[in-house]
């Protein structure tokens, strides 16, 4: 039964795209097939790339230096020993707005002269979180053995490899003398590259 049907079909056709209407049908079919997908893909691709806006009441009146977060008072920072501080800020997650959320962490330390340095806790290799270890007086990453000196430079620990492509990422800080407060310009960097590029 089906064989006879196909044979009649084969007789009557002049090739698949043998007529103008065939081309037209294919074109129309393609267009309508693609229409809904285009709308969906547009939202899927464009939405994550869009710049998000904080709620109206939070937009202005914040700190005069956007990007800088208050992390610690100068007195809380130890000399020659790094201490970990949490960055707390308001957070926008799709439709939710949350006040005072932990965004991430930094290490702060000062030298004898009182100069403060600040390191991102994210490992430049592949994004694990590095930790300061007292025994070796260095930063170690728990994932693939990257280690860093207190000044952020890569630690050459004889023999074993150190896969990090660059030293620990430093962050810009500002000290408000009047209130004795340290502000950090907190941002994330792409990992796995030799240069430091902000996300």
């Amino acid at each position: 039964m089906s064989e006879t049907k196909i044979s009649t079909a084969k007789e009557s056709r002049r090739g698949f795209f043998g007529s103008f209407s065939a081309w037209l049908a294919a074109a129309v079919g393609a267009v309508i097939g693609v229409g809904p997908v285009c709308v969906g893909l547009y939202t899927f691709i464009m939405e994550p790339l869009r710049k998000k806006q904080m709620p109206r009441k939070e937009r202005d009146g914040g700190s005069s230096d956007p990007g800088f977060f208050r992390v610690a008072s100068v007195d809380e920072i130890a000399t020659d020993v790094p201490r970990r501080f949490t960055i707390v800020a308001d957070k926008l997650d799709a439709w939710n707005f949350m006040k005072d959320q932990a965004l991430g962490a930094v290490y702060l330390q000062k030298n004898e002269a009182g100069d403060i340095s600040c390191y991102h806790t994210t490992c430049p290799h592949a994004g694990c979180s590095v930790a300061y270890e007292q025994d070796s007086n260095a930063y170690h990453c728990p994932c693939h053995n990257s280690s860093f000196n207190l000044d952020g430079s890569k630690l050459e620990n004889g023999g074993s490899t150190n896969p990090s492509p660059r030293p620990l990422d430093t962050l810009e800080i500002k000290v408000d003398e009047a209130t004795n407060t340290v502000f950090v310009k907190y941002e994330d960097y792409y990992t796995g590259r030799h240069d430091k590029v902000a996300k």
């Binding site: 056709r13 698949f16 209407s21 969906g40």
Partner: protein, 694 residues
């Protein structure tokens, strides 16, 4: 090159044969426009699947997130409104195409032997499509979807014995909540589309097996499905898609205010294509007789469906086909009529404008008022979301702190049986109708219209002895004060004495100044005190000099001979809080007719409102939209008196354990900055206020 590649692929996949198998279907009598309805349904479903999956990428099922994510899709997301709009409109297009397709099949006799199975598969597909519509309606978790779907799931409990279990399984427990959404979402996005695809494949396979019902004719030669019918189908689908996109743009999918289980929505209606079922329920009563709700909601539709199921067999007997055509026509017509009837019932007030007094008119008007209220509530929550974002606890947590949303709700519930709130201008959407006041009727109706209470305009009306002033229902309504001393004084003394136009002009100016002086007591956040300093100061002088005769009865600042309530702090937050909590604390007791009906809403004896609710109402009446829990910005009507001192702020000595305001007052002259203490007792709040004034 391309040809070679094609051959390579074809020899391994057999793509050529499959395409031929799929596209070279013989159509007796040639391609026709009227064969497009089936393809359009398939296309519509495909569109729903695609847009649905993209919506899924942004939707979050769960009672705190569902509304928030749909709000985000609709109002924040790039292209989200269009995406949701297409999904919403195409769903309705599908429900329109379904009966068309069915009618066609019946009229063209495509349901009879040997196509019984395909007819049944079609019926199953119809049910699945309707179930998709029903489950999808709940997902935005707004008032409309919530309350309408609730009716549908209540009906699931009707069948005897198993009903209760069915309902619990569908709803995911006893009450609506997370599980209702997760279940409905899994049904809507997983189970039902999966079933639909499965049955659709069978439906199409069956269709191919039997071929098109039409017979070859002499006039037109047979044609293959490809390309002419494909072209016609394609054009029809393209037109459908264009139309759907157009409608989605000019008439975007709505979103109501978030579902609030404690705030019933009086205009809950199912999606329009279920309205006929909704309407049909009204024909069945709650008695134990044969025509009860169970029969109406389940047995009757079940019997109708059973008939449709049996139609291929009915067609075998003589006139059976004619009967079937009539049955389907009657069903479509009946559903159409019921839909029309439901529409006319809900819009009776629009079609019968003169018939104001009929019950039908009032019912329809009420329905429209509820729809409008939902619009207002949505507008309010939208403003909140834009201002504050949505907290993790969900939109209700935000809404419940909003003096406007909650103010309107509480006012309607507790105050509107006596008071009106005739908001105008940019606040018109907040208006709440009070009771109808019949000046000749006795009884507890009508108290002041509280919109703008304490503002200069409101007070000027109160002190106006002419038409539309103090004697109008806007002020004392139908209370005993209509015949009271205040009315007598304003009408028969103040205004009666002003005989010439000149006198009246002077009186009006004095009243305006006094109204500003009184409004300064209220410290209303929306008034321009700074720009009206002169009026306030003159008004204070008038009051102290008793130009209008106010302080004969009322106390005011140093004038302490009055025997009715003091004008100090009149209409301020504290004053209103006391007034609502217990009005008898405002009106002096020895004044017999002072308060002849207003109950105490929060006193030792009564707790009709919580303190938070009173706070919300007070802010609503003062048009102060500071969220509950936040401290309102302080308003200082007479700033110019001591600008230098107030600008300075210094740390306040901590006196938490033993507050001694009297001492600190003398030592320092500053305003306390720290106002975060919660639940400050009224008394201490008043004390603090006095302190700041001094």
């Amino acid at each position: 090159m391309f040809g070679k590649l094609y051959k390579w692929v074809d020899s391994r996949t057999g793509i050529q044969d499959s395409l031929e198998e799929a596209l070279y279907e013989n159509i007796p009598g040639g391609a026709k426009w009227r064969y497009v309805s089936g393809s359009m349904l398939v296309f519509a479903f495909m569109t729903q699947a695609i847009t649905g999956i993209f919506l899924w990428m942004n939707y979050s099922a769960g009672s705190q997130n569902a509304w928030a994510s749909v709000y985000y899709i609709t109002y924040n997301m790039e292209g989200g409104a269009l995406l949701r709009g297409i999904h919403h409109v195409m769903a309705q297009a599908m429900v329109v195409l379904l009966p068309i397709h069915i009618l066609q099949v019946v009229i063209e006799k495509a349901y009879v032997k040997p196509r019984e199975f395909n007819w049944w598969l079609g019926l199953v597909l119809m049910k699945i499509t309707l179930a998709l519509g029903l489950t999808g309606y709940l997902l935005p978790w707004d008032q409309k979807g919530y309350w309408a779907t609730k009716v549908a799931t209540e009906l699931a409990a009707l069948p005897p014995i198993v009903g209760g279990y069915i309902q619990k399984i569908v709803v995911g427990g006893n009450e609506y909540g997370h599980f209702t959404l997760t279940r409905f979402f899994a049904l809507h996005a997983g189970v039902l589309p999966g079933l639909l695809v499965g049955f659709l494949v069978l439906h199409l396979a069956m269709f191919r097996k039997h071929g098109i019902t039409a017979h070859s004719s002499e006039k037109r030669a047979d044609q293959m499905f490809w390309p002419m019918q494909v072209l016609k189908d394609g054009v029809a689908c393209a037109l459908l898609f264009g139309l759907v996109v157009y409608v989605a743009i000019i008439h975007p999918a709505e979103l109501g205010p978030p579902a609030e289980p404690t705030e019933p929505y009086g205009a809950a209606r199912p999606e329009w294509y279920f309205l006929f079922l909704f309407q049909m329920l009204k024909y069945f009563d709650g008695s134990m007789g044969w025509n009860n709700e169970f029969v109406g909601a389940i047995v009757f539709p079940g019997v109708v469906f059973g008939f449709m199921f049996l139609m291929p067999f009915i067609a075998r007997i003589k006139v059976g086909h004619a009967f079937n055509v009539l049955l389907i026509a009657a069903l479509v017509g009946g559903a159409g009529y019921l839909t029309y009837e439901a529409h006319m019932e809900d819009n009776y007030n629009i079609y019968n404008e003169e018939d104001v007094d009929s019950a039908a008119y009032k019912k329809a008007a009420k329905y429209h008022a509820e729809v409008e209220r939902a619009d207002t509530e949505f507008r309010l929550i939208q403003e909140l979301v834009e201002d504050y974002g949505i907290p993790l606890e969900g939109p209700l947590a935000l809404q419940q702190r909003d003096p406007y949303t909650m103010g309107v709700r509480l006012f309607r519930r507790q105050c509107a049986s006596c008071h009106a709130y005739n908001a105008t201008g940019e606040n018109a959407h907040l208006a709440i109708a009070g009771p109808e006041i019949d000046p000749n009727a006795e009884g507890p109706m009508g108290a002041p219209d509280l919109y703008g209470f304490g503002s200069p305009v409101w007070i000027q009306g109160l002190l106006n002895g002419e038409e539309g002033g103090i004697t109008s229902p806007k002020y004392f309504g139908n209370t005993s004060h209509v015949e009271g001393e205040m009315v007598a004084h304003v009408r028969d003394t103040m205004w009666a004495e002003a005989e010439t136009d000149e006198d009246k002009a002077v009186l009006k100016e004095t009243i305006e100044q006094v109204s500003w002086a009184l409004a300064a007591e209220a410290k209303l956040p929306y008034l321009d005190y700074a720009g009206n300093q002169d009026k306030i100061e003159s008004g204070i002088n008038h009051l102290n000099d008793d130009t209008l005769g106010c302080v004969g009865c009322h106390n005011y600042k140093e004038n302490e001979f009055g025997y009715v309530f003091t004008l100090d702090h009149y209409a301020s937050s504290e004053w209103l809080t006391t007034m609502i909590s217990n009005p008898n604390e405002v009106y002096s007791e020895d004044w017999g007719t002072a308060n002849d009906r207003m109950p105490a809403f929060h006193s030792d004896a009564t707790k009709l409102l919580t303190q938070d609710e009173i706070e919300l109402l007070v802010r609503f009446l003062r048009q102060d939209r500071t969220l509950l829990g936040d401290t309102p910005e302080s308003v200082e009507p007479l700033q110019s008196e001591a600008p230098a001192e107030e600008a300075e702020t210094a740390e306040v000595t901590e006196t938490t354990e033993t507050p001694a305001p009297a001492e600190s007052e003398e030592d320092t002259d500053e305003t306390p900055v720290d106002t975060t203490q919660e639940a400050i007792e009224e008394e201490s709040a008043e004390e603090a206020e006095e302190a700041t004034e001094e």
